[in-house]
């Protein structure tokens, strides 16, 4: 996989919240027209990385290139152009609560294209059908379940057939059958439209089903990267624990845990 085929290149990216370092010198690249999965347990830094890639967290110059451009030097106008080329599904769907589902999906098409109303109406119904929400066009977000809101959010994220689709935890809140359908839809979007899809998830089954390339993160660092087969073969202890869904059970960490408990106990005056 050459850098020239990459739509996003990340080199030595650090990230902080205040003085606390969240990401430690991350380097990887995301190839065009593939599904790239960012995996890791809660608190591994994957959502912070996601926020850098969609422009919700400022990135210093010389760290991240998208379409060959250094996003650290982008001005507000560059970000607005970029946001028109991407679709983003946030964990909670992030729908506008005062609009119906159809109005939420219509919005980007009405604002950013010259498509006539009749075509937009057909496209909105088509996108709802793709996510399994035919018949819910006139519902308000508050009338939908969490999983349905998420699917409606996906319909809005793909309204414009974006070049890059960013998806944060696509399976959370969905039943297994719906989650599997959503995985199939992401694969179809890649196949049919050549979409580049960036997925943040801790769902192993989904990640290995859809991912062409992946990274496994822990403590703000990349522990493993490559194809699903590369990651499966990793000998890193924490990667093995993650893949085998085991909590950290090394003797060293248990000792540290015991030490913490003893410290807490000793603070209590008898």
């Amino acid at each position: 996989m050459a850098f020239s085929d990459s739509i996003i290149v990340v080199r030595n990216l650090d990230s902080y919240y205040g003085t606390r370092q969240i990401l430690h010198s991350l380097s990887f690249h995301i190839p065009a027209h593939q599904i790239f999965v960012i995996m890791g347990v809660s608190g591994s830094g994957k959502t912070t990385l996601f926020r850098h890639l969609i422009g919700l967290k400022p990135t210093p110059p010389g760290k991240v290139w998208i379409y060959g451009e250094d996003i650290g030097s982008w001005k507000s106008g560059d970000w607005h152009k970029y946001w028109q080329r991407i679709g983003v599904l946030f964990q909670n769907g992030a729908l506008f609560s005062s609009m119906t589902v159809a109005e939420n999906i219509t919005l980007p098409l009405a604002v950013h294209t010259n498509l006539p109303r009749e075509i937009i109406t057909i496209m909105v119904e088509m996108k709802l059908h793709m996510v399994g929400l035919s018949g819910f066009a006139n519902y308000m977000p508050a009338q939908l379940s969490g999983g349905m809101r998420k699917r409606a959010g996906l319909a809005r994220a793909i309204a414009m057939d974006p070049e890059i689709l960013f998806v944060d935890e696509p399976s959370s809140g969905l039943d297994p059958i719906t989650a599997a359908g959503l995985d199939d839809l992401l694969l179809s979007l890649k196949e049919a439209l050549g979409m580049t899809v960036v997925v943040v998830t801790h769902e192993l089954e989904s990640a290995f089903k859809i991912g062409d390339y992946m990274i496994v993160m822990d403590g703000g660092r990349i522990l493993a990267s490559g194809t699903p087969d590369d990651v499966r073969k990793s000998n890193d202890r924490r990667v093995r624990q993650f893949l085998e869904r085991r909590a950290d059970e090394s003797g060293q960490d248990l000792e540290a845990y015991l030490e913490r408990l003893c410290t807490v106990r000793s603070r209590v005056k008898s």
Binding site: T113, L115, I119, M123, M126, M130, D161, S188, A192, L193
Partner: protein, 106 residues
């Protein structure tokens, strides 16, 4: 960019050929051209030939659906022919394979 050609035979069969991209950027113009070229009545069948499409997205599929809908209102039959594999995948993504036939154009 996209071009539209229309031809009609004496038996009421009309063929729309679209060339180039049928995407969000081109659909408004392609739609206007089709409206100018196609007679409002006198057609029994409309065939859309997609052999020369370079790229199509879901806005292109929506345009085909709109044409299909207008044909149905007029009692005119509607077919989409000669999609290449990429175009077929986009139509399949929209779960509208029923728009397609396996027949090519003579």
């Amino acid at each position: 960019m996209a071009d539209v050609e229309f031809r009609k035979d004496d038996e009421g069969k009309g063929v729309i050929c679209i060339r180039g991209n049928l995407t969000m950027a081109t659909v408004p113009a392609v739609r206007n051209n089709i409206r100018k070229l196609i007679p409002s009545d006198g057609l029994k069948e409309i065939i859309v030939d997609l052999a020369s499409i370079d790229r199509m997205d879901t806005a292109g599929v929506a345009l085909l659906v709109e044409l299909c809908s207008e044909c149905r209102k007029k009692g005119c039959s509607f077919k989409v022919v000669n999609p290449d594999e990429m175009v077929r995948k986009v139509i399949r993504l929209a779960q509208l394979e029923q728009l397609l036939t396996e027949e090519g154009l003579d």
